[in-house]
């Protein structure tokens, strides 16, 4: 077996080697910004489709209840989009403010993706404004058509940014000549081989998160005894989406795992904490990785080999096949991966229970526990989402560009990061308060306020 070398060819940063004593703080700042932005953008990815679906129901049936719901949801969409815009702007600034050497060295390789993304943001902003402010201005059909570009822009916007992330995990589209980046091929960088599983996994995650969060809101009303047609409709639309998306995540996640096994074996080893290269590697549910082995937890023999290669006896390279300085922090990655898979399993089971009940009895499940779990699924799905990103991003450490540039080399040399951290923390807290306040105010108004027509809230 050959020894693994991750460092394909180290790149000299275009701005030299930075001195940064607060690297950890810079990383935390970046993480904090993502933790705020990514749950919001799920709504940019998946919510427009739900809104259009409900509006379509209105156009087909003429039932004003659907119009009231679509209109109400479109306002939520606008508010979350606005906050997505400002939090995305923070991220765009942070690219340069926190990682100038990374940008200076590789901006010309992967920047194209962000350039294209900019145009999908334009499209999204323009059509969202027309859609939300144009309810009374356009005929129903034209209004529905105006929503279509929003759905498309949700896909292209996340496609491009994920392309960059895929590239950071599996760089392509350049050569290293004498420590410098050369022969740049921006299209090869754009369509790197990690793009596709990340895109689809994230896209489906968007539907899982939106379905669970919206479902949780209506499930709470349901548990409190409000079971009119409005609540019921919202519940069914949202939960159906989540129930269909959650099991798919299993299949895509498996694909993601195999891709990681092929391209980033050390990250895969960190999913479990495989110290030495092993045939038929097992997985432990729970437990802690310590001094080269997992302590505690339930052992699933050969499960990791099965996940990685679909072969129970496959060889899994261990962490020790690279220098200690090239290994990611195992327990963070391990714990995040387990949290994502555990929650993914729970959500998939919940979804299957819902679909089966519907199939067999043509009704919603009756158990209060189903609704309690639904309420929990809202926050849980967000945890799974963030845990997944933690798996990917912390699993990539210590590299910012896997195998080519270390995070410590891409970082800024500026001081005073602590102040920036505190300021941005305050900004994010204020933003969170603002969102909650706005959405609560919106929710306090009866759905009847949205339309002139009388709403039929009692079941026929």
């Amino acid at each position: 077996m050959q020894a693994l070398t991750i460092a394909a060819a180290s790149v000299t940063g275009a701005l030299g080697k930075p001195e940064q004593h607060d690297l950890l703080l810079v990383r935390e700042l970046q993480t904090m910004s993502f933790v705020f932005h990514i749950p919001l953008v799920c709504f940019g990815i998946a919510f427009p489709a739900l809104v259009l679906f409900v509006e379509g129901l209105w156009i087909r049936t003429g039932d004003a209840l659907y119009k009231a719901m679509a209109k109400r949801w479109s306002k939520v969409m606008l508010i979350l989009f606005a906050i997505g815009v400002v939090s995305g702007t923070i991220l765009s600034f942070e690219m340069g403010l926190l990682w100038p050497n990374f940008m200076a060295t590789f901006g010309d390789v992967f920047g194209l993706a962000f350039g294209i993304e900019g145009f999908s943001f334009f499209a999204e902003a323009i059509f969202i404004a027309m859609y939300v402010y144009g309810w009374e201005r356009f005929s129903p059909r034209r209004h529905l058509l105006l929503g279509v570009p929003i759905v498309i822009a949700g896909v292209t916007g996340s496609l491009m940014v994920i392309s960059v992330n895929g590239w950071m995990n599996h760089p392509a589209g350049f050569d290293v000549v004498g420590g410098r980046v050369a022969n740049v091929d921006p299209l090869a960088a754009l369509f790197n081989s990690h793009l596709w599983h990340e895109l689809i996994h994230m896209y489906v995650a968007g539907y899982v998160v939106v379905g669970c969060v919206v479902g949780a809101v209506y499930a709470r009303s349901w548990l409190r005894g409000n079971r009119d047609r409005y609540v019921r409709t919202g519940l069914i639309v949202a939960v159906t989406v989540a129930a269909l998306a959650a099991p798919v995540q299993f299949v895509v996640g498996d694909w993601a795992g195999r891709t990681v096994a092929d391209d980033q074996p050390i990250k895969l080893a960190a999913f479990e904490g495989v110290a030495d290269t092993t045939r038929g590697a097992s997985l432990h549910l729970g437990g802690v990785y310590e001094k080269g082995a997992v302590r505690g937890g339930i052992k699933l023999p050969k499960a990791l080999s099965l996940l990685a290669q679909h072969d129970p006896d496959a060889l899994v390279p261990g962490l020790r096949s690279v220098r200690a300085a090239d290994r990611p922090p195992v327990n963070v990655v391990r714990f995040s991966f387990q949290a994502m898979v555990a929650i993914g399993t729970l959500l998939a089971l919940l979804g299957i229970a819902y679909v089966v009940t519907w199939w067999r009895h043509r009704r919603l499940p009756r158990s209060r526990w189903f609704y309690r779990l639904l309420v929990a699924s809202g926050p849980l799905s967000v945890v799974a989402l963030l845990a997944g990103w933690t798996t990917t991003e912390v699993g990539r450490q210590p590299w910012i560009v896997y195998g080519f540039m270390r995070t410590s080399e891409g970082v800024t040399a500026a001081s005073g990061i602590g102040i920036a951290f505190v300021v941005l923390l305050a900004v994010y807290l204020a933003l969170s308060v603002a969102i909650v306040w706005l959405l609560r105010r919106l929710a306090q108004r009866a759905p009847q306020a949205e339309v002139r027509e009388e709403l039929r809230l009692r079941p026929a």
Partner: protein
């Protein structure tokens, strides 16, 4: 013209669009700040919200456009500038965030007592963001941003005569543009009192901006001689003269109550200043770094420019349609019930 030059032109065009469009959104916040007490200031505030609510996100994307073009086409310059100007950058982004949130909240909060407190915070951010962005531009223009990772002075690079001057000009330009737009919108909505109020404000802001710009030339002569030299000779001078003519014209249009025309002429004034700045500095991007040295490789620029061209072709019609609807007041207020 090389591909790098084309990219630079595109960035300058994006900056012009951002100043003219989003600058006015910040300016709206400025007038919000100075509109007076809750009762008296209410009509003005509502007009700001109604005119700018539907378009601010689209206007804002121009900033993202500038950022991504710069980091792709001129990565070393981008990394150097952002790392040195990080204080201004963080403050600007905090201001932008508050301003954007302000738009979202105002639609809901307009009737509440909290609105005043919130309003003050948002309005202050409307001054903070353009000031910091302008000062950052001044830092680059006066050659205080060296190549390197946070190699320049994090405070002194932008808090100096040129930086402060450009920062103030950015705030004033936004205030002027906003007043012109709002006067036009008030006229269309038949709000005669507001029309007159914003006409007065536009004239005031325009005169102050003009005076500061003229005084600013003397500041530049002392503080940024190279930039001054570039702006007062050759093509740079042509741009400055054009801008001055446009500035006087737009003021006289406002005086005569021709607000729609005044908008476009004001945009021309901003565009010629931006172009003048670019020409004055050309070919230096940062000290010791020329446009061609800083440029991304050919393959990247080709791909970037092709995608930008396709993007503009697909987006422009939709954007124009949105502005047309917003200007003609056809878009309803979504946050209130129908």
């Amino acid at each position: 013209m090389s591909l790098a030059d084309v990219s630079l032109v595109l960035i300058a065009a994006g900056m012009t669009a951002y100043i003219v469009l989003a600058g006015a959104d910040f300016g709206g916040g400025f007038w919000d700040l100075t509109a007076g007490g809750a009762q008296r200031g209410r009509p003005a505030r509502e007009l700001v919200q109604r005119s700018m609510g539907p378009v601010w996100e689209t206007n804002h994307v121009w900033l993202i456009f500038i950022l991504v073009l710069t980091w792709t086409a001129f990565p070393v310059a981008f990394g150097s500038a952002m790392s040195t100007l990080y204080v201004a950058g963080f403050l600007a982004v905090a201001g932008i965030v508050m301003r954007g949130t302000g738009f979202a909240l105002r639609g809901q909060a307009a009737s509440l007592p909290e609105a005043r407190l919130l309003g003050a915070a948002f309005a202050l951010s409307s001054v903070l963001a353009p000031f910091c962005l302008g000062a950052a531009a001044g830092a680059i223009g006066s050659g205080r941003v060296p190549v390197g990772n946070a190699a320049g002075d994090p405070w002194g690079s932008w808090l100096n005569p040129t930086g402060v001057l450009v920062g103030i000009l950015a705030v004033l330009a936004g205030a002027y543009l906003a007043a012109v737009y709002l006067a036009a919108d008030a006229e269309r909505a038949g709000l005669d009192e507001l029309r007159r109020a914003f006409r007065t404000r536009a004239l005031g802001a325009g005169l102050v901006a003009g005076a500061v710009a003229i005084a600013g030339l003397f500041v530049l002569r002392g503080d940024a001689p190279a930039l001054f030299e570039g702006l007062t000779s050759g093509a740079g001078l042509v741009c400055i003269v054009l801008s001055a003519i446009a500035g006087v014209t737009t003021l006289s249009l406002v005086w005569r109550g021709r607000f729609a025309a005044a908008r476009y002429v004001a945009a021309a004034a901003v565009a010629s200043v931006t172009a003048g700045w670019a020409l004055a500095q050309y070919p230096q991007l940062l000290p010791g770094l020329t446009v061609s040295q800083a440029a991304a490789p050919h393959s990247t620029l080709v791909a970037l420019l092709i995608s930008a061209a396709l993007g503009v072709l697909t987006i422009a019609p939709a954007q124009l349609a949105l502005y047309r609807m917003a200007i003609s007041g056809e878009l309803s207020k979504p946050m209130e019930s129908s």
